[in-house]
Structure formats: structure tokens, C-alpha cells
């Protein structure tokens, strides 16, 4: 009974989360574009699925992803092996990014742009190689980012110096990179962090910061995602410079 009530409450929460999208779409469709909403039954069914999905996701987050990330952090902290922790951090960043569907889509688009611009050949083979190279570049850079972020948590460095240095890297690279890759590079920062990676990496960071003495989970625990969205920009522009 208690579980059913929790589920219903969580479902109501999902309805509230989704309400703004429904209002915006309905308003623009009916008032601005002045068109009927096509296939209303289908849309309502879809909205029900989204709500159910969001509810399940939140439940699973609390049961699975958060505890798992925290347990890994505690286990590494107890073991006291920094090297293994860093290897884990790198692999987590690399492994989750290389398979990321959004990244696969973006690198295919980038290969298309490069082929149109005459930077690479126009055969399928050339485009595929280029896209794969780009994906590998981004995945390596995210692995490196999580690794740096974990070192920062261990050392307790303030985050803004590293981020500002990263920004400078982005600005300098923008000056050198071919113009057509700049947009793709800037966007690649946002697409690397998927819905499953974010909770896991956040729990890892917060878990590490709470288990290392002298670290504050609020000040030191967050920030891993920030690194993971910054380094791909620099590395993708570097990739553009090297390949052209």
C-alpha cells in the first residue's frame, strides 16, 4: 500500500514536470498557428508513456544508479588506490561517450559538412573514417575530463581556475580552427553527457567528496559534468586543425 502511494505520488510529480511542454505546444498550435491538434488520442497515449517512463526512471535512480555510484566511490576511498580510481574515472568517461547515440549523430553530420566543404573525400569510406576519428577524439577527451575532475576532488583544487583555463583553451582554439568546425565543436560539449551518465557521475563525485576527509560534497562533489562538457570543444577543434 505504501509503495503504491509512493508510486502514485511520483506519477503526479511526473505530470507536473511534463505540464509546461504540453501547455507550450497546445498554446502555439491552437492560438498562434491556429490549427487543430492532429491525432489527439495518439498524443495522449504518448504523454501517458512519457509520464510512466519518467516515474520509473526516478524510482530506478534512487534504487540503482545513485547507490551504485556512491558505493564505487566509497569502495575506492577505502581501498586507497588512487591509480585504480583514475583508471576507473577515465574508462567511465570514455566508455559512456563512445557509445552515445547523440555523439554518433553529431559526428556523422560533421563528416557530411567536412565532405561538402572539400576537407575530406566524398566517398562513404572517407566520411566513415572521419566520423569515427571524431567520435574517438570526443570519447578520449571526456575520459580525460572525468580523470582531471577526480584529481581535482582528491586535491581539493577550486574548480574555477581549471574551468577558466579551459575557456581560454576554447577561445584560443577558436582562433586556429577552420570556421566550419566551430559550431560542431561548441555543440559537442553539450551532447556528450547522457541521461544515464549524469546521475552516475554525479553520485561518484559527491560520494568521493563525502568520503575524503576535508572535502565538502557541495563545493568539491559537483563539477565532473562541467569538465566533461568543456574538453570535447577543445579536442574537436584540435581534430579540425589536424585533419585539414
Amino acid at each position: 500500500m505504501k509503495q503504491v502511494r509512493a508510486f502514485v505520488q511520483s506519477l503526479l510529480g511526473s505530470i507536473r514536470d511534463l505540464a509546461p511542454i504540453i501547455i507550450v505546444i497546445a498554446f502555439f498550435q491552437l492560438v498562434i498557428l491556429r490549427q487543430p491538434i492532429p491525432d489527439l488520442a495518439n498524443i495522449l497515449a504518448g504523454v501517458a508513456l512519457v509520464m510512466l517512463g519518467l516515474t520509473l526512471f526516478v524510482q530506478g535512480l534512487e534504487m540503482g544508479l545513485f547507490p551504485l555510484g556512491e558505493n564505487m566511490a566509497y569502495a575506492f576511498a577505502r581501498k586507497g588506490s588512487v591509480v585504480w580510481l583514475l583508471v576507473f574515472a577515465f574508462l567511465l568517461g570514455f566508455g559512456t561517450t563512445i557509445a552515445e547515440p547523440a555523439l554518433i549523430a553529431v559526428s556523422a553530420e560533421a563528416a557530411e559538412v567536412a565532405a561538402t566543404g572539400g576537407v575530406i573525400g566524398t566517398t562513404e569510406e572517407d566520411k566513415k573514417n572521419y566520423a569515427n576519428g571524431l567520435r574517438l577524439t570526443v570519447a578520449l577527451s571526456v575520459g580525460f575530463a572525468i580523470l582531471m575532475g577526480v584529481i581535482r576532488i582528491i586535491k581539493g583544487w577550486p574548480i574555477h581556475y581549471l574551468i577558466i583555463m579551459g575557456y581560454m583553451g576554447v577561445v584560443v582554439m577558436t582562433g586556429f580552427a577552420p570556421e566550419w568546425i566551430v559550431g560542431i565543436a561548441y555543440d559537442s560539449g553539450g551532447v556528450t553527457t547522457s541521461t544515464i551518465t549524469v546521475p552516475l557521475v554525479t553520485a561518484l563525485g559527491v560520494g568521493l567528496a563525502s568520503s575524503i576527509k576535508g572535502r565538502n560534497p557541495m563545493v568539491d562533489g559537483f563539477g565532473l559534468i562541467a569538465f566533461a562538457s568543456l574538453t570535447p570543444m577543445i579536442f574537436v577543434m584540435l581534430y579540425g586543425v589536424i585533419t585539414s
Binding site: 498524443i43 564505487m72 581501498k79 576507473f88 555543440d187 560539449g189 551518465t197 560534497p217
Partner: protein
Amino acid sequence: MALLTEFLYQFFFNVLMTLKDVLPIIGIILGFQFFVIRKPIPNFGRVLVGFIYVILGLALFLQGLEQALFPLGRLMAEQLTNPSFIIPNLAEGEEYVVHWPDYFWVYIFAAAIGFSTTIAEPSLLAVAMKASEVSGGTVTLWGLRIAVAIGVAIGIALGTFRIVTGTPLHYYIIAGYIIVVIQTFYAPRSIIPLAYDSGGVTTSTVTVPLVAALGLGLAETVPGRSPLLDGFGLIAFASLFPMMTVMGYAQVGLAIAKYRGKLSESDD
């Protein structure tokens, strides 16, 4: 019946896609658990059930979005950017000059869709849950989400303005960086890492597909823009502005607390 088979087929496909996303993570975690940590995962059964919930939940979520919201959102992006909507009495095939105020409804739509999709973004919800737990109540679930959503709204509206006017992307981004850096020195220290993180988490499952459709639609229809060169960049805007609004949120919170403190002092 055909509808049901199609639904199941689509759902199965979504589960597979989510699994593909999760498998490397599971592989890495299990590998480390067995070979490095060499201890069983605490509450293994519960964690496993949680993982299954996450996979099924995300698959259902994507399925619902694909079925209901994405087609309509894409259609609306197309209609709103269509020249016949922008300039109502345009003759067929007539050349027209772009005035950026003509795209008024596009900016409003961009802001509204940016705000509303961010509220529904599951990864932001995850970070907000952690942040409200860790901060002990100074950062609230809804406070953070609304602050980020306002940032995305401003970012995407400005991003569509940039596509319409065709100004270079990096000017905006570099100016944004300068503001973020200046703000960093004035914002409360504990909010900074969270603010930086909120840039990256905003743009995933819900926001990216709708926003990409809007950017591509604009770049295709605005004369003189190319979808290949100008269609990108909206995501970058959407990841930049939440940093400013989240730091702003903490600054406002601090100012209110100080003001209240002063009031209670003068009461004494």
C-alpha cells in the same frame, strides 16, 4: 492488432538502444567490482532492479516522446519558421529581405520550448535531487530546475536570433564566457561547481531533438543561411546561459537572506 505489434516492436527497439547506452557502463563497473575492489556490490538485488527500472523508464520515455511530442514539435518548428508565416502576404517565389523583428514568434517559441523541455529533462532532475540532498535545503529541487530552465530559455531565444541575423557564433560564446568568469568571482563559492555542471546536464533526451529541429528549420528557411554552417550552435547557447542563471539564483538567494538578516537586526 497491427498497432500493438508496431508499438511492441518500437518499444523493443528503444529498450535495445538504451541497453546499448548502458552496457559499457555495466561492463566497466562489474569489471572493477570483480577485479579491483573484489567485494560484492551492496544490496545487489535492489541495485539490479533499479537498473531495470531506469532502462525501462527511459525506453518508455523516449517512446512517448517519439510518438507524441517530437512530431508535433518538429512540425511547429517548421511552420513557425516558414516564410509564409513570417511574412503573411508574401507572393509565391518573391524575394524578401530578413528583418529580425519579423521572427518575433520564433524567439518566443524558442524560449518557451527551451524552458518547458528543461523542466522535463531527466538528467537535470537527477542532479537537482542530489543537489537538494547535499546542500541541506539551500538549493531546492524546483529552485535549481527553474533557474536552469530560465537559462536555457534565454540561451535558445538568443541562439535563434543569432541564426536569423547570421552573426558569428563565437562572439556570443566568448562574451558569455567573460560574463561567467566575472560572475564566478562574486557568486557564493558553494554554488560554483553546481552552476558549471548545470550547463552540461540541460541538453539531453528531451531538449536536443526539439531544439535541433528548430535550428535546422531556421537555417533552411532564412535566406542566406546554410543549414550546415548555421544550423549548429543552439546547444552551445543552451549550455552556456544556465551557468549564469544558476549563479544568479544563488546570488539572489544570498541577497534575500542578508536583507532578512538586516530586518531582524533592526527589529531587536
